[in-house]
Symmetry: C2
Subunit: 522 residues, 2 copies
């Protein structure tokens, strides 16, 4: 914490001198002792840790707000320097927010792990915030449970687990940064060195689309060389159990427009003669996906690997939310005969975001509409690429007699083809997924479980998508998501908040992984 003296280098040197003899013991009693030590440190320093986070949150952090985003980067650099982390800014050749980068080498360590987080935040609609987004306030319970503002206490050890800190980026994604740095302090207090070389990569425009990320990665390949990346972003499981996520689905999207007559025709006089674009589109969609979510496009599953035994075991261990979730969204049944949600998100998905054609309701008339449009997103699993999905889908569409254009067709183009379709594609990116059986994965799971003394939720993949493939494709290192914040944090929305217990658990998790992952990684 910036309030503390800069003792990091001395500590590191000291840790280096005492060498592996000081490593946390992996016996049951050693594990318990280390866990107690970290918890004790976090408890005794809770007020200082919350102050450090609150001070950091007070700096507005929109990626587009150049002066303030740089103030964030400089503030963060100071926080890192206070721990003896050799830090610097990685700038993009085309300006944009810098990456705040740091290194902490561990003498004798053979592995290097990069901790990723981002210090920028989502845009804010200030009219929806009960207190301003960059004026952090502590509340004695969640706002929607009637939480009242309270001052940060002065007595160490008095912060309650269900209190919440409200501010933009309280959860997403400044809390993990503060938790990592506090974890280092806790290791120091316990006289335990990290088990791996540590690198820190704090991005400044994740919420704005990471437009400069790839160029920064490409310019710093040797600097960023590592054996693994830990993505410290996103929430833990809805059950409040710690979660580790080994992959994300990729994503791409397309918009399809099919055409009927160039102006609406009387459905009595011309129905059954002029092609109806709504039925054409419905038939095309039906040819792509059945009611059980199975994608009917030729060769679509050729790239898809089956679920591994390790993944299947992990899925079975995840607390099932299916029944509760069905009730919450008023569904009598879910796709594929109520197949488990955790299995479903292991598969490729074709989702209709929407459809529009003609009119319904009071404005419906007995007319053959001129066109109909569908918007589709495709969720990708490992080995699928947006380019190949595009090829497969377009081949399918051509096999159904369509001539494909990427623009609104001209009258001549319409006349020249029996069927014509406009297709526009979004770029998208592939999935990533790390084997849950790999030495890295097993080491992260074990270190995390020991850090809390409770079983964790190991999720083979998120159903959703994160652009982790950008890192994988440039740096060729495995990536694992190790989140710490509460799921009910209003991420991206107004009144974002962080539950205090999640902050303290997060310190324990990061401390445990730093201390042990190198030892278990074999």
């Amino acid at each position: 914490m910036v309030h503390m003296k800069n003792n990091g280098i001395k500590w590191l040197l000291a840790a280096g001198m005492i060498g592996s003899a000081a490593r946390a013991q992996s016996t049951a009693s050693g594990v318990a002792a280390f866990r107690a030590s970290v918890q004790s440190y976090a408890h005794a320093n809770d007020v200082a840790i919350v102050h450090e986070l609150s001070d950091f949150l007070a700096i507005p952090n929109l990626a587009t707000d150049a002066p303030n985003i740089r103030r964030n980067a400089e503030h963060l650099t100071a926080m890192m320097n206070a721990r003896g982390i050799a830090s610097r800014l990685l700038e993009s050749p085309s300006s944009g927010p810098p990456v705040v980068y740091g290194e902490l080498r561990t003498p004798g360590a053979t592995k290097t792990v990069v901790f990723y987080a981002h210090y920028d935040g989502q845009p804010v609609d200030t009219t929806q915030w009960v207190t301003p987004p960059w004026h952090p306030v502590l509340r004695d319970k969640p706002l929607d449970a009637g939480g009242q503002v309270i001052a940060i206490p002065t007595t160490p050890g008095s912060i309650q687990r269900e209190w919440r800190l409200y501010a933009r980026s309280a959860s997403d994604d400044k809390a993990p940064i503060v938790a990592m740095l506090a974890a280092l302090d806790a290791l120091h207090a316990a006289h335990v060195p990290p088990s791996v070389n540590l690198k820190f990569f704090f991005e400044g425009e994740e919420e704005a689309g990471s437009g400069h990320l790839k160029s920064i990665l490409e310019q710093n390949v040797p600097l960023l060389k590592a054996d693994a990346w830990l993505f410290c972003d996103g929430p833990v499981h809805q059950s409040r159990r710690q979660q580790i996520v080994f992959g994300v689905r990729g994503v791409t999207g397309a918009e399809l427009t099919v055409y009927g007559p160039s102006h609406g025709l009387h459905s009595g006089h011309y129905g059954n003669w002029a092609p109806n674009p709504v039925t054409l589109l419905a038939n095309l969609i039906a040819s792509m996906r059945n009611d059980d979510g199975r994608i009917l496009i030729k060769n679509y599953y050729d790239d898809v690997a089956p679920i591994t035994p390790a993944e299947r075991r992990a899925l079975a261990a995840i607390p099932a939310v299916d029944s509760a979730m069905r009730a919450e969204v008023q569904l009598g049944a879910t796709e594929a005969k109520n197949a488990a949600l955790v299995e479903r998100i292991m598969l490729p998905a074709l989702n209709l975001r929407g459809i529009r054609g003609g009119a319904v309701g009071a404005t419906a008339s007995n007319t053959i509409p001129t066109d109909a449009t569908a918007s589709i997103d495709f969720r990708l699993v490992p080995h699928e690429t947006p380019e190949h999905i595009k090829q497969l889908v377009e081949s399918h569409v051509r096999a159904h007699g369509y001539f494909i254009v990427d623009h609104t067709p001209t009258p001549a183009e319409r006349m020249a083809h029996d069927r014509i379709i406009k297709m526009t594609w979004e770029a998208g990116y592939p999935a990533t997924r790390v084997s849950m059986d790999s030495p890295l994965s097993r080491a992260v799971i074990r270190a995390t479980e020991e850090s809390l003394g409770t079983p964790i939720v190991a999720l083979p993949t998120l159903g959703g998508s994160l652009p982790m493939y950008t890192f994988e494709s440039v740096l060729h290192a495995p990536l694992i998501v190790l989140p710490i914040v509460n799921h009910d944090n209003n991420q991206h929305s107004s009144n974002e908040n962080l539950r205090m217990q999640n902050l303290f658990d997060g310190i324990a998790v990061y401390a445990g992984v730093m201390a042990r992952v190198g030892d278990y990684w074999r």
Copy 2:
């Protein structure tokens, strides 16, 4: 015409006195002589006829405008009385515009024909009219060809065939009324009595949905007894050839809403698990109708009679508009391998009026939408009923696993069923179609062709729908549509107009049918 002396009764008595000896001769020379006589009458009286129509058009005629719609009825009664037609108003028990009814008995005639038209008009958006809708003006050519307003000339025989009269209901549907009455005058001038007993049924709220029609019909079944009804409404063929239409398709409609999660879910985290209502709806639509317009619902075609040889001959004789129409609406191909439009409209049709679910374009998000809605119209051919269509469609939907409700389902209903769908039905009505081989049909075709000396377009059915079944179901008489106005009349829209040649041809057609249909009907 109201300008003329009331000489109808005297004429009728005179016609009765000279009996069948005065009937128009059906030899080639007799046919030509009668045609010339009617044309000569219309030419010599063109100014008076146009004045009579213009005076009638000057009375605002919205069915909802009670005082003015009654002024129309009284004016029309006077026009009929002037021809010696015994006329009266048929009132609905629950108020509403009256039907103007009249009879003209022909001594010795064994058949009775009712001429139907309506004297009310579509609502107007006065901002879109170049001249006010109820201030009729004559123009020397169509407005969109630069037509200028000209005074109605004073010299008989000087009205040009391509001039147009602009006013609400100029075509739809006051012109046929004036043409019928002028036809009676022409018969009188030629000393030719009608060949059938004539009845006239002029409705006053056709454009407002005919809400009181059925009760008026039911209250006057004996009065309205007839061997045939001629519906004098709608336009002639786009080629400007006279058209006779022997049927209309029936119609019904439904709106279907299928449900996904009760609030939008992240497509990454819940895609492939929560049912996607857009894909459910697309799959349901695809199960109902293929790309060639074939309806896939079980037993759907059981009621459908094949096209008869007479119908097939008639279809072959209709000028094909398919290629020109495809070019006009920029279609490279039409359904069922460019099958002929006139054949297509002989079949039942399932048309998607529109579809809505989730979002497309800039507002699309990676979300599983909560619901999706489709609006469908069904075109019916003879022997199909809306009730049976509803049964077939609902059986189909149930066979696809849906529980059907007629309201937005409650949470409990949603939870109780794997799939739930809201279906709401419009009332609709069946088709009507008269055999083109019947003595009546052959008589109308022959009389019409002779009246103009040119071949006509005999259309087995309109693709569109008219509530003619109301008449058929109450009165059990065959109905044939005998329109006279130009197809490019801006019917229902602003700047409605009537082409003068269509008015004069219309007089010839109605005079010819009145004079001959009884003779040929055997």
